[in-house]
C-alpha cells in the first residue's frame, strides 16, 4: 500500500493533529493549565499555518479523491489565517461568556475548517459532500453557541435546517449527475457530460449547496438572520472562511467539471451575480444593525467573487483567491470592530457608532479602512481585488455584467459611507466611551490593518497567486491522459469560442482564451 498520499495531505493531517492535541489538552489538562488553553491553541495553530505554507507538489492521492494544487494549498493557508484572526478576536469573548466551552469553540471551528480543507481539495463528489457537511454541521453548533440567547438558537435552527435542505437538494443533484454520467470523479465526469437535460438539472441542483454556502441570491435568505443571531465572531467566520472555501470550490467544480457545459451555467451565474449584487445592495442601505448590514454587504461581495468564476480563466481563479484574501482582512476587521463595540455597548445597532471617532479613533479608522477596502477604494486592497476580478470578467467579454457590477459599487459605497458618516460626522453628545481592547484583538487588528493597506499596493500576493493559479492549470494539463483527444475538449473549445466571439477580437484575449481552453482539461484520470 502506498502511504505517500498521506504526505500530500500534510495540511489536513496537521490540522487533525491540532484538533486532537487540543481535544486531549482540554479534556485532561489540569484546571490551572487550562487557563492557558487559548494562547496555546493559537500558538499551535500558528505552527499549523506555518506547515501549510511549506511548498507542496501538485498531485492527487487516493485514486483521485484528493487533489492538491498550489492554489488549494494557498487557499488553505488563507482560511487558516482567517480562522486564526477570528480566534484572536474571540479570546476575550470566550473568557468572559463561555469560560467552560472554550475548547468546544476551538474544536468545532477547526472541524469546520477541516471540512473546508477537504472541500477545496476534493476530487470526487463524495469527498466534496463530506467536506461540505463537515463544514456546515459543526458550524450550526457554533451559530447556536450562545445557549442562553434565543437569537443565537433561532439563528442556529435557521442555519441547520436551511443548510440541510440545501444540501438535500444538492445531493439530489449529485444523484442525477451520477445517473447521467456514471461517475462521481471530477476528472472523469467531463468526458461523460454531453449537456443532456438530466445533467443540466443535476448540475444546477447540485450547485445549490455551494450557492447556499456563498449565500448568493436567491439562496441567501438565511444569511442576514444567521449573521445577526450568531455570535459576532462566528458571523465573521461564516462570512469569510466558509465563503472562501465555497468560492474556490465553486470555481474548481464549475471550471474543471462543468467547463464543458459552460453554455448552461453561464446564464445562471449571470443572473445570480446581478441579483446578488443588486438586491443585497439595496437591502444593505436600509439596515440599522451592523451585523445584518455586514451580512448584506457580504452577499453582494459574494456576487463580485462569482464574477471571477464567470470568467473561468486562470486570471479568474487568481482573482477569486486574491479577492478572498483581501475580503478576509477587511471583513474580519469590520466584524472584529463590531464585536469589540458590541461587547462594550451591548448592542449591534449602527447608531452606537455615532461619534465613535472622537472617543475611539483607532477602532474607527480601522473600521473605515475596512469599509473602504470593501467598497473598493484605493489605496486599500479592495480596489485592486475588484479591479482584477472585473478585468478577468471583461477579458471574457462580459461588459454589461461588469457595468452593472460597477454601478452597484456606487450603491455599496453609499452604504459603507453611511457607517463612516456615523463614526466621523454624525454629532453625538454621548458617544461610546473610550475603551481598551485586549491584546489578542489588537494583534488581530494590526494584522488586518496591514493586510488592508498593504496587500494591494504590495503586488507580491497577487503575483504569487497568479503564478500558482497558472501552475495549477499547467499541472492539470501535464498529468492529463485523456483530455487531449476527448470530446470534452472540443465542447470546451466551442463554449469558449462562443464567449470570445462576442468579446474583443484582440489578440490578447484570444491568447488568453486559448490558455483557458487548454486549461479546461479535466483532472487526471485516476481509475485503476
Amino acid at each position: 500500500m502506498d502511504f505517500s498520499g498521506f504526505l500530500l495531505m500534510r495540511d489536513e493531517i496537521s490540522l487533525v493533529a491540532l484538533i486532537l492535541i487540543l481535544l486531549l489538552y482540554d479534556l485532561f489538562a489540569p484546571a490551572k493549565a487550562r487557563k492557558a488553553f487559548q494562547p496555546v491553541a493559537c500558538l499551535l495553530f500558528v505552527v499549523q499555518i506555518a506547515i501549510t505554507l511549506l511548498p507542496t507538489a501538485a498531485d492527487h492521492a487516493f485514486g483521485g479523491m484528493y487533489v492538491n494544487t498550489p492554489v488549494a494549498s494557498v487557499v488553505k493557508t488563507l482560511m487558516s489565517a482567517g480562522t486564526l484572526l477570528v480566534f484572536l478576536f474571540s479570546k476575550k469573548w470566550l473568557e468572559e461568556k463561555h469560560e467552560i466551552a472554550q475548547g468546544e469553540f476551538y474544536f468545532l471551528t477547526l472541524s469546520t475548517l477541516l471540512g473546508m480543507y477537504f472541500m477545496v481539495s476534493s476530487g470526487h463528489f463524495l469527498m466534496f459532500y463530506l467536506g461540505i457537511e463537515l463544514a456546515s454541521i459543526p458550524l450550526a453548533c457554533l451559530v447556536a453557541f450562545s445557549k442562553k440567547d434565543i437569537f443565537s438558537a433561532e439563528a442556529g435552527a435557521k442555519f441547520i435546517l436551511n443548510a440541510s435542505f440545501a444540501s438535500g437538494i444538492s445531493l439530489f443533484g449529485m444523484s442525477l449527475l451520477y445517473g447521467g454520467t456514471g461517475t462521481l470523479y471530477f476528472s472523469d465526469m467531463p468526458i461523460a457530460l454531453t449537456g443532456t437535460p438530466l445533467q443540466i438539472a443535476g448540475m444546477i441542483l447540485f450547485a445549490t449547496g455551494l450557492f447556499f454556502k456563498m449565500s448568493l441570491i436567491p439562496y441567501h435568505s438565511w444569511t442576514a438572520d444567521v449573521y445577526q443571531g450568531a455570535p459576532t465572531q462566528v458571523s465573521a467566520y461564516l462570512s469569510v472562511v466558509s465563503k472562501t472555501a465555497a468560492a474556490v470550490t465553486l470555481f474548481t467544480i464549475f471550471f474543471k467539471v462543468f467547463g464543458v457545459m459552460a453554455e448552461s451555467w453561464k446564464p445562471v451565474l449571470y443572473i445570480i451575480i446581478i441579483l446578488s449584487i443588486t438586491i443585497a445592495n439595496v437591502f444593505a442601505i436600509r439596515q440599522k444593525n451592523i451585523k445584518r448590514f455586514l451580512a448584506y454587504s457580504s452577499i453582494s461581495q459574494a456576487g463580485y467573487i462569482v464574477l471571477g468564476v464567470m470568467a473561468a480563466s486562470p486570471q479568474g481563479l487568481t482573482g477569486v483567491v486574491y479577492y478572498m484574501m483581501v475580503y478576509m482582512f477587511a471583513n474580519i476587521a469590520a466584524f472584529g470592530v463590531a464585536a469589540l463595540v458590541e461587547r462594550q455597548c451591548g448592542n449591534t445597532e449602527i447608531s452606537s457608532y455615532n461619534g465613535l471617532y472622537k472617543t475611539n479613533p483607532w477602532l474607527s479608522v480601522l473600521m473605515m479602512f475596512a469599509l473602504f477596502s470593501l467598497a473598493g477604494i484605493p489605496p486599500f486592497a479592495g480596489f485592486f481585488s475588484k479591479f482584477f476580478i472585473f478585468a478577468s470578467a471583461v477579458q471574457q467579454g462580459y461588459y454589461i455584467l461588469v457595468l452593472i457590477a460597477l454601478l452597484n459599487t456606487i450603491i455599496s459605497l453609499y452604504y459603507y459611507l453611511l457607517i463612516v458618516r456615523a463614526m466621523f460626522i454624525t454629532p453625538n453628545d454621548n458617544p461610546l466611551p473610550n475603551f481598551r481592547s485586549d491584546n489578542y484583538s489588537r494583534i488581530a487588528m494590526v494584522v488586518c490593518f496591514f493586510g488592508i493597506v498593504l496587500s494591494g499596493i504590495v503586488s507580491f500576493f497577487y503575483n504569487k497567486f497568479d503564478e500558482m493559479a497558472k501552475e495549477s492549470m499547467e499541472v492539470c494539463e501535464y498529468s492529463m491522459p485523456k483530455a487531449t483527444d476527448g470530446t470534452a475538449n472540443g465542447i470546451a473549445t466551442a463554449a469558449f469560442d462562443g464567449q470570445t466571439a462576442e468579446a474583443v477580437s484582440g489578440d490578447a484575449s484570444a491568447a488568453t482564451a486559448t490558455t483557458a481552453i487548454t486549461a479546461t482539461a479535466p483532472w487526471p484520470s485516476t481509475q485503476e
Binding site: 435552527a157 436551511n162 437538494i169 443540466i200 436567491p218 448552461s264 446564464p267 438586491i279 437591502f283 453609499y414
Partner: protein
C-alpha cells in the same frame, strides 16, 4: 521711434506704482507723481507727433510706421496676437488728444479731487486708463485693439465706480461695463469671423484692399450672409457699444455718476470715440468690401445723433445734458465716416471731395475732444462749487465764476458751430460731406446741429444767467489748478479750427486741402444763431414761462424725451424680466429641481428598492427554503431553455 513705447510705459508705471504703493504715499504726492508721469507722456506724444508729421511723404502719402511689434501669443501660423505700436496719422493724432486731455484732467483733478479719500486709487486708475487708451490707438492689429478695448472698459468701470459706496455709482459702473461688454462680444465675434477668412489680424494687411486675402473671403457666406458683411457689421456693434450708439447708448448717461474729470476724459473725449476710431481704422475694409454696412453705420449714427439731441434738450442734470450731447456728437463723427468715400465722388451741385467725411470725422473727433473736455471740466468746476448737478440749483453764476463762465461760453460756441471756434470748421465739413452723400441726410444733420446749439445754450443760460438759486455756502471760483486746464483747453478750442487738418489726416494719407463750402457754412451758422437766440429768449432771464408751455404743447413727446424715450426701461425689462426671470431663474430652478431631482430620485428609488424585495426576508425559515427551491427551479429552467 522705439521711444514711443514710453508713451505706454509711463502711465502704466504710474498705475503700478500708485496701485501697489499707493497706500504708503500721501494723497497729494500720489497726484503729483501721476501728473508728472503724464506730463512726460504728453511731451513724448507731442514730440512723436512733431517727428511723425515732419517726416517725408512717400509718393505724397504718409507712411504708417511700426517701430515696435512683438509677438505676444501665437494661435496658428498666421494668426497671432502682436503687441506693437503703429504710428499713422490717426493714431498719432489720437495720442496727442489722449495725452493732452489726460494731462489736463490730471492737473484739474489735483484741485477737484482734493480731500477725497482714495486719491491714490484715483490717479492709479487714471494711469491705467491712459495706458489702455494709448495702447488701443497704437494697436497694430485688431486683436491688440480688442485687448486694450477691454482694458479701457475696465478702467472706465473702475472710475465710474470710484465712489463705490454710492449705490448709483455702483450700478452705473456695472451697467457701463456690461453693456459695453455685450457689444464687445459682437466685436470678438466679428474678429473671429474676419480672421477666420482672412487669416490675419494685422491692420496692415486688412487695410490693403488689394491683398489676396480678401479675394478668397469675398465669395464665402456664413449663416446666409456674406462673411465680410457679417464681420464688419459685428465689429461695428462693438464700436457702437463703446461709442454709445443707439440702442447701446444707455450706459453713457449713467456713467456720469463717476467723478466729473473722469467723465471729461473717458466719457467725452477719448474712450467713447474709440468706436469711431475703430471704424476709421478699418475704413478700407468697410468702404471697399461692405459699403452697405458703412451706409448702415451712417443711418444708425444719424438716428442716434437726432435722438440724443432731442433728449438733451429736456434734461435738467447738466452732466446728463453733456452726456447726450456727447452721444449726439459721436453720431456726427460716425455719420461723417459712414458717408465718406475713398475715391472720387461726383455729386450734384457740390464740389467733389475725396474722403471728405473721413477727414471731417477725425477733425471733429479732435475738436470735440477739446471742447467737450472743456465743457465737462467747466461743469465740474460748477458742481464743485454748487454741490449739485441740477440746473435748478444754478443760475447767475457768471459773476461768481468768471473764468469758468468765459471758457464755458467758448466751448458752447464751438459746439454750436459758430465761427471762428473750432467746432464750426469740423462740423461744417461733416455737413458738407453729408450733403454730398444724401441731401436729405444733410438737412437732418443741419437740424441736429441747430438742436445742438439750442440745448447747449439752454444749458449755458440756465447755469450762468437766469435766476440765482439759494445756497447756504458762498460760491467761489475754482482754484488755479482747475481753471488752468480750462483756460488751456479754451485756447485750444479757439485756435484748433485753423489747423490745416487735412494736411495731417486723410483717408488715403495723401495731403488734402480743406476749403469751406460757403452755402453749407452760412446756412448752418445762421440756423445755429437762430437757435441760440431762441435759447436766449427762453432761458436768459430764467423767468420765461414759454418753456413750460412748450413742454405742455409737446406733451407726450416731452415726457418721453425726459425719460429718454424709455429705452432704459426697455432694457430693464429685458434684463430683469426676461433674462433673469425667464432664463436664469428657470435654468437655476431646472438645475436644482430637475437635474438634481433626477439624481436624488435615482437615489431615492434605490433606497426604496429594498422594500420591493422585503418579501425575501420575512424571518420565516420555511419561506427561505421556498425561495431556495423556487430559485433553483427557475434557474434550472433558464439554463435548460436558454
Amino acid at each position: 521711434m522705439e521711444y514711443t513705447l514710453w508713451i505706454l510705459i509711463l502711465p502704466l508705471l504710474g498705475f503700478l506704482s500708485l496701485g501697489l504703493l499707493g497706500t504708503r504715499l500721501k494723497g497729494k504726492s500720489a497726484g503729483y507723481i501721476g501728473t508728472a508721469l503724464l506730463g512726460l507722456t504728453a511731451l513724448l506724444s507731442y514730440f512723436t507727433a512733431w517727428q511723425y508729421f515732419s517726416m517725408d511723404r512717400v509718393d505724397g502719402i504718409r507712411q504708417a510706421l511700426t517701430p515696435v511689434n512683438w509677438t505676444w501669443m501665437r494661435f496658428t501660423e498666421s494668426l497671432h496676437i502682436d503687441l506693437g505700436i503703429l504710428l499713422d496719422p490717426i493714431s498719432v493724432m489720437m495720442l496727442v488728444v489722449i495725452s493732452t486731455v489726460s494731462l489736463m484732467v490730471h492737473i484739474y483733478s489735483l484741485g477737484y479731487m482734493d480731500g477725497e479719500k482714495g486719491f491714490q486709487r484715483y490717479y492709479a486708475f487714471l494711469g491705467l486708463f491712459t495706458f489702455s487708451m494709448c495702447g488701443l490707438v497704437v494697436a497694430t492689429n485688431i486683436f491688440q485693439m480688442y485687448i486694450f478695448w477691454e482694458l479701457v472698459g475696465v478702467s472706465s468701470y473702475l472710475l465710474i465706480g470710484f465712489y463705490y459706496t454710492k449705490p448709483e455709482a455702483v450700478s452705473a459702473s456695472k451697467k457701463a461695463f456690461i453693456v459695453t461688454r455685450f457689444a464687445d462680444m459682437f466685436f470678438l465675434m466679428g474678429i473671429l469671423l474676419l480672421s477666420y477668412f482672412t487669416k490675419t489680424f494685422d491692420f496692415g494687411q486688412l487695410c490693403d484692399p488689394d491683398n489676396p486675402i480678401f479675394a478668397s473671403a469675398a465669395g464665402k457666406t456664413f449663416l446666409g450672409g456674406a462673411v465680410l458683411s457679417w464681420a464688419t457689421a459685428l465689429i461695428f456693434i462693438g464700436a457702437a457699444g463703446k461709442s454709445a450708439m443707439f440702442p447701446l447708448h444707455i450706459w453713457l448717461p449713467d456713467a456720469m455718476e463717476g467723478p466729473t474729470p473722469v467723465s471729461a476724459l473717458i466719457h467725452a473725449a477719448t474712450m467713447v470715440v474709440a468706436g469711431v476710431y475703430l471704424v476709421a481704422r478699418l475704413f478700407p475694409v468697410y468702404f471697399f468690401f461692405t459699403p452697405e454696412v458703412l451706409h448702415g453705420i451712417a443711418y444708425v449714427a444719424a438716428f442716434t445723433a437726432l435722438y440724443a439731441a432731442i433728449v438733451a434738450c429736456v434734461q435738467t442734470d447738466i452732466k446728463r445734458v453733456l452726456a447726450f450731447s456727447t452721444i449726439s456728437q459721436i453720431g456726427f463723427m460716425l455719420v461723417a465716416l459712414g458717408v465718406s468715400s475713398m475715391g472720387t465722388v461726383e455729386a450734384d451741385g457740390l464740389e467733389s471731395h475725396e474722403g471728405l467725411g473721413y477727414m471731417a470725422s477725425m477733425f471733429h473727433l479732435f475738436t470735440h475732444a477739446m471742447f467737450k473736455a472743456l465743457l465737462f471740466l467747466g461743469a465740474g468746476a460748477i458742481i464743485h462749487t454748487v454741490h449739485s448737478n441740477e440746473m435748478s440749483r444754478m443760475g447767475g453764476l457768471r459773476k461768481q465764476m468768471p473764468i469758468t463762465h468765459i471758457t464755458f461760453l467758448v466751448a458752447c460756441l464751438a459746439i454750436a458751430g459758430i465761427p471762428p471756434f473750432s467746432g464750426f470748421f469740423s462740423k461744417d465739413e461733416i455737413l458738407t460731406a453729408t450733403f454730398m452723400f444724401k441731401p436729405w441726410l444733410g438737412v437732418v444733420m443741419t437740424f441736429i446741429a441747430a438742436l445742438t446749439a439750442f440745448y447747449m445754450f439752454r444749458l449755458y443760460y440756465n447755469i450762468f444767467w437766469g435766476k440765482p438759486a439759494q445756497h447756504d455756502h458762498p460760491l467761489h471760483e475754482a482754484p488755479k489748478n482747475m481753471t488752468g486746464p480750462l483756460v488751456f483747453l479754451a485756447l485750444v478750442t479757439v485756435v484748433a479750427g485753423f489747423i490745416p487738418f487735412g494736411k495731417f489726416v486723410s483717408s488715403t494719407g495723401a495731403a488734402y486741402i480743406i476749403h469751406l463750402d460757403m452755402k453749407v457754412a452760412i446756412t448752418s451758422v445762421v440756423i445755429a444763431l437762430i437757435s441760440i437766440l431762441i435759447a436766449w429768449k427762453l432761458y436768459c432771464k430764467g423767468t420765461s414761462t414759454v418753456p413750460a408751455k412748450m413742454a405742455g404743447f409737446f406733451g407726450p413727446l416731452y415726457t418721453a424725451a425726459k425719460h429718454r424715450f424709455y429705452i432704459d426701461e426697455v432694457y430693464q425689462f429685458i434684463t430683469h424680466k426676461i433674462i433673469f426671470r425667464c432664463v436664469s431663474q428657470p435654468l437655476a430652478w431646472f438645475d436644482r429641481h430637475i437635474i438634481d431631482g433626477i439624481l436624488n430620485g435615482i437615489g431615492w428609488i434605490t433606497c426604496r428598492g429594498s422594500l420591493a424585495f422585503r418579501w425575501m426576508q420575512t424571518g420565516q425559515l420555511q419561506s427561505y427554503a421556498l425561495l431556495i427551491i423556487l430559485g433553483a427551479l427557475i434557474l434550472l429552467c433558464i439554463s435548460l431553455f436558454c
